[in-house]
């Protein structure tokens, strides 16, 4: 575990060897509900970092914090050594160009073709000549195996294909950090295998940092270098997937082995069962 008592300034000046994404002592609450309470986690270059946790632990909120869509109520979020909270809109947008994000359902722009979806960031941010742009887009589509689908409409894509197009779009600006939000949800085994392999190969060939937010323990454990398990607004365990599996913390054990009851209870808290059934006063 990193030294959480270190002053925040050290996170801001992280150099070449420092983490790509650095979350230190972050607390966040919304509407009186505390989502994070002193969260710490880091993602390093060349590594796949898995962030796991039961539903409702704020995994998506974490991604929004990382992208600067929301600001923490305490603590610091630094990406590429820059404190996200200190950036204005322009700075944030400049930073986001170096980050690729894969949304849960792909979030493709429905009024554009597959090709134009992948070309979208290039058209918005660069003034590349058309032939060069075309080649770049086709290369990214080739990387996800969908060069043949370039002219399709997004409505004609299956869930797995849509996610691969979104992945091609996420890497078209050659990001240094790739963030995946629940990339395995609702995929058949073949598509899931494809996405797993793509996450792994993109991470290795591009030499980037990958952050995968998921509750799919078995699949991500096959490729993750380092895992963080969130529960109750904190990191309750960290390490390699094997280390997590062997951990003796009850909540970690419950989550990693998919036990229906434990620290995360099966029953929503309720009054006495017997009394409610027999009492008859409701």
């Amino acid at each position: 575990m990193p030294d959480t008592t270190a002053p925040a300034a050290t996170a801001v000046v992280a150099g070449e060897g420092g983490p790509i994404a650095d979350v230190r002592g972050v607390s966040y609450s919304v509407g009186g509900r505390t989502i994070f309470d002193g969260l710490d986690l880091q993602a390093h270059r060349g590594e796949i970092t898995a962030v796991m946790g039961p539903s409702g632990t704020g995994k998506t909120t974490l991604l929004r914090l990382l992208m600067g869509a929301i600001a923490p109520s305490a603590g610091h979020v630094a990406v590429f050594g820059q404190d996200i909270g200190a950036l204005d809109r322009r700075g944030l947008y400049a930073l986001r160009r170096r980050v690729g994000m894969l949304f849960q359902n792909g979030a493709l722009l429905t009024d554009l073709s597959v090709f134009e979806n992948v070309a979208f960031p290039l058209r918005e941010h660069t003034r590349l000549p058309e032939p060069l742009l075309r080649r770049l887009v086709l290369m990214k589509l080739q990387a996800v195996g969908l060069r043949g689908a370039a002219e399709l409409n997004t409505a004609a894509l299956s869930g797995g294909m849509a996610r691969r197009v979104a992945l091609a779009r996420a890497i078209v600006m050659d990001p240094e950090l790739l963030i995946y939000d629940e990339p395995f949800v609702g995929l058949d085994p073949i598509s899931l295998g494809v996405i797993l392999r793509l996450i792994q190969s993109l991470n290795a060939t591009l030499g980037i940092a990958s952050v995968v937010v998921t509750h799919d323990v078995d699949d991500i454990s096959r490729i993750a270098h380092r895992s963080f398990l969130l529960a109750g607004g904190k990191v309750v365990a960290t390490g390699s997937p094997a280390q997590l599996r062997a951990a003796s913390v009850p909540v970690v054990n419950q989550f990693m082995n998919g036990l229906p009851d434990g620290p995360v209870p099966f029953h929503v808290p309720a009054g006495d069962y017997r009394e409610q059934l027999l009492g008859g006063d409701w």
């Binding site: 992208m67 944030l92 400049a94 986001r96 918005e124 600006m173």
Partner: protein, 252 residues
Amino acid sequence: MSHSRVTDTFVKIGRVALFLARIGGQCLPALRRPRLVIAQIYNAGARSLIIVMLCGLFVGMVLALQGYDLLQRFGSESALGSAAALGLLKELGPVITALLFAGRAGTSLASEIGLMRATDQLNAMEMMAVDPVRHVVVPRFLGGIIAVPLLTAIFDAIGIFGAQLVGVGLVGVESGSFWSQMQSFVTLSDVNQGIIKSLCFGTACSLMAVYEGFHAEPTAEGVGRATTRTVVSSAILTLLLDYMLTAAYLGS
């Protein structure tokens, strides 16, 4: 925290105003790439053309019938041409076109943007460092503002044609007096008044549509509610503005 309906209304007015300011700041960058705006003029304008033309024809025809019935009581049925033209140009054209626009184009704008919100497309743009206000909202807003006065002009022209059809063809007003009365009594300022009104209504209807769509709750019901609210607030705003503009013109 409990808000009364009154404070809710004022809060919303403030939010809409802030949103308008945000749109205003992105108008110039959006105009520098007019391709998106032109696509939206087509989307909101050309696709509302049939309904606007049909309604214009019927409104003009009804206006001729009612106008003739009224004017002949004073023995001045020859004024039908100018009465119909003034009614259409200053009042019926801008108002009815705006209401039709809100129903036909405003709802589809709101649900389109709302669906983009619900399917994370707007968030995805944010994450790709593309401002969705500039890329999605502003072209639709400007497209609406440009389309409504154009539609109003078409509505007016077809309405006058419909009035002539019924007034001259059916109830027997003399064609010469129909047109000459119109020419001598309708002034340029009457035409301008209609154009100003339709610009204001177009702005109001487009603003409400993009605001409601952009701030829709990201669920199926949320999108439906946003669509409904678009029509309601567009209609209220249009008629409120109409009264205020008319009062201002007649007062000056």
